[in-house]
């Protein structure tokens, strides 16, 4: 009888635990590292039986539109959101994100890379936890470089890149010396050209928020970009973004590709890449002005202020961005699949350094990017390849269209810059800058 009663009580307790289990909804992008996180999340649920997870995976722009609507209207549909480095300072200042004060005791915030951490903090308080970070770098074909009789320095200049691109180009064989983003968009060609412009001494705005497209450094940047692409770029480059250039590089059509450091894992993956064993890496180029042309980006997990399950959400964020999670991915998928670019300890791990030949370049690139002082001259904004103001998405895409037009030859470089200056001035006037 007693046994039966005990069993009944146990059953009731189990049922009540199931009934009281909290379900948190996580919105994320469809990138490889996020898919792995979803796959391995059963480990989190096993350790936290009182928390169930629901996933909403979406394409980046749709996700951005959806979570922005939700967070701005306090809709409360999501408990954990995947957001970029662009959103964090804007949303953090608006008070739309919960400060991450209650991360696990062994979380070790000091292990986060300073450049990444500074972009995710408001008044020194972390408002989002980095899931993976990236910068940009040069990926090049070692065989083509050798054939051209050149040697890639660890830290090349733009002049060398142009010379090497020309030497590697063999249009008859369908090989183009350089592949760069040309597709219009604030996260596409603008990410690349803005990073480039930093190394040419250009900036989007001066200290009084006055647009700077009518200055010589911008003229030099855009002219260089258009010239090098005309000389050595693939046809139809104005339609090429990350994925298109990845496809070109993997199929052996590009001599060099300057893009996100996460591409290192793709181009060296023997299953998909035809040139996996012929790829070298170098830092993004510079012009001797003290700034390199590399960007800084991270996908981060944040808890919206409207979440009613912030304790459970905090536990999940702690788990997914912890050292423990890194070890879990390494044990299940291998070190090469570990989310990169967020923790110092990862770059001290010899197993990771062995599995990822691009690891040191990634670390050096991330550490050399400074989102607070991104340019040669001082600026009033935060962000390396973007300006962290709400208006930037619209302005950036419009300017990206002008630059894309210059690349196709529909506009001259001068016309594209004059048009960019006009439309940016108009947008900033409308938004009442300086504020």
């Amino acid at each position: 009888m007693l046994n039966k009663l005990t069993m009944l009580a146990c059953g009731a307790l189990t049922m009540s635990a199931a009934v009281t289990a909290e379900t948190i909804t996580i919105a994320t992008v469809n990138n490889g590292d996020m898919i792995t996180m979803k796959e391995l999340s059963s480990d989190f649920e096993a350790k936290n039986p009182d928390i169930n997870l629901k996933w909403v995976t979406l394409e980046e722009n749709i996700l951005r539109q959806r979570v922005t609507t939700d967070v701005a209207t306090k809709g409360g549909q999501y408990d954990v959101m995947t957001i970029g480095t662009y959103e964090v300072p804007i949303w953090g200042k608006q008070g739309w994100l919960k400060p991450l004060d209650n991360l696990d005791a062994d979380y070790d915030k000091d292990d986060l890379l300073p450049a990444i951490r500074s972009g995710l903090s408001i008044n020194d308080k972390l408002v989002a936890a980095p899931f993976y970070g990236e910068s940009s770098m040069v990926m090049y074909r070692t065989d083509l470089m050798e054939k051209a009789g050149l040697e890639m320095p660890k830290a090349p200049t733009w002049t060398f890149i142009r010379k090497a691109a020309k030497a590697m180009t063999d249009k008859d064989a369908g090989i183009y010396g350089i592949c760069l983003r040309g597709k219009a968009g604030w996260g596409e060609n603008i990410a690349l050209i803005t990073s480039m412009s930093n190394s040419f001494g250009a900036r989007w705005f001066d200290e009084n928020w006055k647009p700077q497209f009518n200055t010589q450094p911008w003229q030099d940047t855009l002219q260089f970009y258009v010239d090098v692409m005309e000389e050595s770029g693939p046809p139809g480059a104005s339609a090429n973004g990350f994925n298109e250039n990845l496809a070109l590089f993997q199929t052996g059509k590009c001599g060099m590709w300057i893009d996100a450091t996460v591409a290192g894992a793709f181009v060296t993956n023997k299953t998909d890449s035809e040139v996996a064993d012929k790829v070298g890496f170098a830092l993004a180029p510079d012009n001797g002005l003290g700034k390199r042309g590399n960007w800084l980006w991270a996908w981060n997990l944040a808890i919206p202020a409207s979440s009613k399950k912030s304790d459970a959400a905090m536990k999940f964020v702690s788990w997914a961005t912890s050292k423990e999670y890194t070890a879990l991915v390494a044990s299940k998928k291998g070190w090469a699949k570990v989310p990169p670019g967020t923790r110092k300890s990862l770059y001290e791990n010899p197993e990771y350094l062995k599995a990822a030949p691009f690891a040191q370049i990634t670390l050096d690139s991330i550490q050399s990017a400074d989102p607070v002082n991104p340019t040669v001259d001082p600026v009033p904004y935060v962000g390396v390849q973007f300006v962290a103001i709400p208006e930037f998405q619209g302005i950036g895409t419009a300017v990206g269209q002008q630059f894309s037009a210059a690349l196709t030859g529909r506009m001259t470089v001068k016309q594209a810059l004059a048009s960019s200056q006009r439309l940016t001035e108009r947008a900033m006037r409308k938004a009442r800058y300086p504020k």
Binding site: T25, N30, N31, G32, K54, T57, L58, I62, Q65, L246
Partner: protein, 276 residues
């Protein structure tokens, strides 16, 4: 001579029709073919139409990674639910506009249609706030309501056009025989206008099935239909074309089959009253 000329023009029109049909169908065919390729073949610079290693791996991955049948069921409920609810409102509205006209009926119809000209994003925030306050976010009921409202102007217009083709004398005769308004609508009007009603229903099922603004914004994990399922397979960084094609094929095949079986009904309904 005349026969030869007519034969020639018939041949030209047939070839033209097949060419246009081929052009329209080609993107769907390409999606279907890509869904059977590997990711590497899907992005190949020299793609092959049929000569590649066929694989079902993408379908297996998609089914493993996403709850396809949940999304499918949500699409079925939202599209059929909103079309039926829409018909329930649109039939009496179109009846009154067709048979009990006032001098403002035309203006009213134009105003209804003009609501379709507003970009949906223009009313995003008010609708989102209403949904939040009424607890309709991420619910199928919420989506049924919003889809009904979005497609209602088209339903009313279509039904109004069909009803106008029916001689009012037939309805008057039924009234003379003592039929009530309900009896007149159900026993006289609806049987005559059945092809038009069926095509209105089918067209709205298709429109609601394919709608990809509200269904993406107003849902999260519970009520997300197939449009959200497709959107989860696009990626800014990485290879995804083959899996995206598999997800797209799985989302469009049900509605393609429905369209195939109901094409006669659709064509008859859409051309109803086109020739007098």
């Amino acid at each position: 001579m005349a026969i030869t000329s007519s034969h020639k023009s018939k041949l030209i029109y047939t070839v033209l029709a097949w060419t246009i049909s081929g052009l329209i169908f080609f993107p769907i065919l390409w999606t279907l073919l890509t869904s059977f390729k590997t990711e590497a073949e899907a992005i190949s610079a020299s793609p092959s139409l049929f000569m590649f290693d066929w694989t079902l791996e993408n379908y297996r991955d998609v089914l493993e990674r996403s709850p396809y049948f949940t999304h499918f069921w949500n699409s079925v409920v939202i599209s059929i639910g909103s079309s039926l609810l829409g018909l329930l409102i649109a039939i009496p509205a179109a009846w009154s506009m067709a048979f009990v006209q006032t001098k403002r009926t035309k203006n009213l119809l134009m105003w209804m249609l003009s609501t379709k000209m507003l970009p949906p994003v223009g009313v995003l925030i008010p609708i989102y706030l209403l949904f939040r306050d009424f607890g309709l976010l991420d619910t199928k009921l919420g989506l049924v309501i919003v889809m009904t409202l979005i497609n209602l102007p088209i339903m009313v217009w279509m039904l109004y056009t069909y009803f106008r083709e029916i001689p009012s004398e037939i309805l008057e005769a039924s009234r003379m025989d003592g039929a009530t308004i309900i009896e007149e609508v159900f026993h006289v009007l609806l049987p005559i206008a059945l092809p038009g009603i069926a095509s209105t229903l089918l067209l709205n099922v298709i429109l609601a099935w394919n709608e990809a603004f509200w269904t993406l914004i107003l849902t999260a994990a519970n009520a997300a239909p197939l449009t959200a399922f497709i959107a989860s397979y696009s990626s800014p960084e990485g290879l995804f074309y083959a899996k995206l094609s598999a997800a797209s094929a799985m989302a469009i095949v049900p509605i393609l089959i429905l369209g195939w079986f109901s094409q006669k009904q659709l064509v008859r309904g859409l051309s109803f009253g086109a020739v007098k």
